[in-house]
């Protein structure tokens, strides 16, 4: 599958690290011929998971689960990785849900939220391209009226994908713009409206209030909007992702997440911690700068890549 290769290509450099570190566990030779892991190697597995940003709680749980695991035959790096991948998949399977446009929503409103620099604008552009490609009528709303040139950035994506971009000058009121964009999308009978928003740190309550206002205002036109409130998370972010999701969940009724920048050396293991903590759908992962690099999230493949299963 295409995205697995992408993720693999990206993650391989990094999964080399996990699989590499699993293969190079000093305790492995001593384990050969045994059917269970000893305390020392469990700790090494736990460390490898922590290094993948799973966080201490999830890492400890997964390593503990491995303790009870009975291996068929010899223990080696790959059999540990396989067992680990199985555990990860169990956690991730329930949250793997692609972003779907429901045609009963006229338009289906997708709101993109998140902290600064997580990749909201780029994701908005990519989503527009994907849905345009499916023959949908898409509108983009440049709701980041704060950052310099954010509007221009989205407009360039609009030109690339042939999508109409509704925008005001930088410094305008984002809620008013979102309202106007939705009104226009309804009038034009668009299939999808993607609303980009300014990045905001989750502890800045005045900025979070602004976000709440955007939602309040668009609900005046469509009570069920936004139909998807998606938080865009930077894959290199560590445990702060938990705080981000929690805060945006409270203010923007986040309904799912998209994790970006997974083509680097970061493994995005925090997704596992997030799945355990919130159980929110993971819609897609960003594995490159091109529009086709936004790929649906597949639990089994992500689990394998994360655990460093060597067979592709």
């Amino acid at each position: 599958m295409n995205w697995f290769k992408k993720l693999k290509d990206g993650l391989s450099k990094s999964s080399k690290k996990v699989s590499g570190s699993l293969a190079s566990l000093p305790s492995i030779p001593a384990l050969i011929g045994k059917s269970k892991l000893d305390a020392a190697s469990l700790e090494e597995v736990e460390d490898a998971l922590i290094a993948a940003d799973l966080g201490t709680a999830s890492s400890t749980r997964l390593a503990a689960a491995l303790k009870a695991h009975k291996f068929d035959g010899l223990v080696d790096a790959n059999s540990i990785a396989l067992a680990l991948a199985a555990g990860l998949q169990t956690i991730l399977e329930p949250v793997a849900k692609p972003l779907e446009i429901r045609s009963e929503n006229r338009p289906h409103v997708v709101l993109l939220v998140g902290v600064n620099g997580s990749g909201k604008t780029t994701t908005a552009g990519k989503l527009a391209q994907i849905w345009q490609g499916q023959g949908k009528k898409v509108l983009l709303a440049a709701g980041d009226t704060f950052r310099a040139a954010a509007v221009e950035q989205l407009q360039i994506w609009g030109q690339r994908t042939g999508t109409n971009v509704i925008a005001d000058a930088t410094g305008g009121d984002a809620a008013a713009l979102a309202y106007r964009a939705l009104a226009q999308a309804i009038e034009e009978n668009a299939d999808v409206l993607i609303i980009d928003t300014a990045g905001r740190l989750q502890n800045r309550s005045e900025l979070m209030d602004e976000l709440a206002k955007i939602i309040r205002v668009i609900r005046k036109l469509d009570k069920s909007a936004p139909h998807d409130s998606v938080i865009v998370l930077d894959g290199t972010v560590g445990q702060n992702a938990l705080s981000q999701v929690k805060a945006f969940l409270a203010v923007a009724d986040v309904s799912g997440l998209i994790v970006t920048k997974l083509d680097g050396s970061a493994k995005g293991g925090v997704v596992v911690a997030l799945a355990e903590e919130f159980g929110l759908p993971v819609h897609a992962v960003g594995v490159g700068e091109g529009a086709d690099d936004l790929q649906p999230f597949a639990a089994d493949e992500f689990a394998k890549a994360l655990a460093g299963v060597s067979a592709s």
């Binding site: 990094s14 940003d53 990749g119 407009q155 290199t236 560590g238 702060n240």
Partner: protein
């Protein structure tokens, strides 16, 4: 979400108090908590390991000071080691002597390079009176050059004219030439975000470095970065030789362990800290502040030092003994109020707790300030010796006299008596338990007990926590929901547990 390190360590050292030097097993138990706290703060594993080894050497055998509990001592050792590792000495930007000095900004996508470049330009122009030029070599991200141009205009500095179709290396060359010809002092080169594993882009960065020979190569990194920080920093350092780190988004609630990771692998100083969205929000990096943040404990270290300095051990021990018997009269209450004042009063203590500093105005508006403590002191001082020992004597006419004598009102006297009675009840309860259990009960008490309760332990001054809890209770009530909501988020970031308490809710 996380228990603070302080509370965890308190648990570890429960029952250890006053037992002489720390043994190796005490230290190991404590350090495993430190390890978890650091990992939860996103410090990368290799950095954690090297750090723990350093601390272990220092912590074993530390004599148990009379007035400071071992957990507090370990916290101080850990804190000092963190500050040390984060870079104890300030490291200014190196601008060389031969203008134009070139500053190259590098980092991952979305780490904040362009924003930081704009902020740095403003700072160099205003604070250092330099003539600054900005040039964007980012031909990848749509509208990146536009963004830098707008930021440059806002900062009123020079911006290199954009020419379509140039490669980053060509732009760099042209920028250097323009900066020389137009006699700029500093040239800041913003580059495209790149993955550390992208060989082609890293080669491009090397070429730019060769062409422009920068004085500073700043790695711009998001303070929310997780374990990947080591890999990223290592890769950039290997490729181009980073000379300093600019840490962005420190105004967020991330604990910022990435800073430690990056220091560990590069050995480079953290030179700049981005602390807000405004262009002026760029500061020199403060290791002590980040150390407190990584440990998620506010400036408890300063509190401990202060407590050790000011609280008189004999007085504290006398009080502890009385408390153990469940005895607590107005004299004890007065003694506590005075200890609190010595430590700088409520304002002084709160100032040391991050997040609270900002809300001091609101606290003052709610009528909770040091003058309130002073008035309470006056009320007690207006009582006779007998009244102070048995509060039951205080009938209406005595209360009227006390109010007159202290320049307060009968209501205020009543409030103080009520407060005293609440505390005396609590003390009685505590008296039936002993030592650690009592301390714990107090830590879990309502109000500000969480923060200052530990102090009570620190100085061997049990009861301080309870005292502040009675103030805290008032605080929560008088501030009401609205305010509590507003400060709740900033508080809980720095001090989990405290925010909820301040809003008056039970734990």
């Amino acid at each position: 979400m996380f228990d603070t390190l302080k509370n965890k360590l308190t648990d570890v050292f429960d029952g250890l108090a006053r037992r002489g030097a720390l043994s190796e097993s005490d230290v190991d138990a404590a350090l495993s908590e430190v390890r978890l706290a650091l990992l939860d703060a996103d410090v990368a594993l290799p950095a954690v390991k090297s750090f723990i080894n350093k601390v272990r050497e220092k912590a074993v055998g530390v004599a148990n000071m009379r007035s400071v509990r071992p957990d507090q001592q370990v916290i101080k050792i850990v804190h000092d080691a963190l500050v040390d590792m984060l870079g104890g000495d300030a490291a200014p930007l190196n601008l060389g002597t031969n203008p134009p000095s070139v500053i190259l900004m590098a980092g991952l996508q979305g780490s904040g390079k362009t924003t930081t470049a704009g902020k740095l330009a403003l700072r160099l122009r205003k604070r250092d009176r330099k003539k600054v030029m900005l040039a964007s070599l980012d031909v990848t991200r749509p509208a990146a050059r536009e963004q830098l141009r707008l930021l440059g205009e806002q900062a009123e500095v020079g911006v290199l004219k954009e020419v379509d179709g140039e490669s980053p290396a060509q732009i760099a060359k042209r920028a250097l030439q323009a900066a020389k010809l137009q006699a700029y002092d500093v040239l800041i080169l913003d580059t495209a975000g790149r993955l550390s594993i992208d060989e082609a882009l890293m080669a491009e960065l090397r070429e730019i470095k060769k062409l422009t020979n920068p004085h500073e190569i700043l790695l711009v990194a998001d303070s929310m970065t997780g374990q990947d920080a080591v890999l990223t920093a290592e890769a950039f350092h290997k490729a181009v030789g980073v000379t300093g780190i600019a840490l962005t988004r420190l105004d967020g609630d991330a604990r910022g362990g990435a800073a430690l990771s990056m220091r560990h692998v590069t050995g480079c100083a953290i030179k700049l800290a981005g602390v807000g969205e405004k262009q002026g929000a760029l500061e020199d990096f403060d290791p002590a502040r980040l150390a407190g943040r990584i440990m998620d404990m506010g400036d408890v270290v300063a509190l401990v030092e202060k407590a050790a300095e000011t609280i008189e051990v004999e007085e504290a021990e006398r009080l502890a003994k009385r408390m153990a018997k469940g005895q607590f009269d107005m004299n004890d209450f007065l003694s506590q109020i005075r200890q609190l004042q010595k430590m700088g009063g409520l304002g002084g203590i709160m100032g040391m707790l991050p997040g609270i500093g900002k809300m001091q105005k609101q606290i003052a508006a709610a009528g909770i300030d040091d003058s309130m403590i002073k008035r309470q002191e006056a009320i007690i001082l207006s009582m006779t010796k007998k009244e102070r020992i048995s509060v039951g004597l205080l009938n209406a006419s005595r209360r009227k006299r006390i109010a007159l004598g202290s320049g307060s009102s009968v209501q205020e006297v009543n409030r103080l008596v009520k407060q005293y009675q609440d505390m005396a009840r609590m003390m009685k309860k505590l008296g039936s338990k002993t030592g650690a259990a009592a301390m714990k009960a107090m830590l879990g008490g309502a109000g500000m007990g969480g923060a200052t309760g530990a102090m009570g332990g620190a100085g061997g001054m049990p009861g301080l926590g309870a005292l502040s809890s009675s103030f805290g209770g008032n605080l929560g009530k008088s501030m009401g929901g609205g305010l509590a909501k507003g400060i709740g988020s900033s508080l809980t970031n720095g001090l989990p547990g405290l925010g909820g308490k301040l809003s008056g809710k039970k734990k």
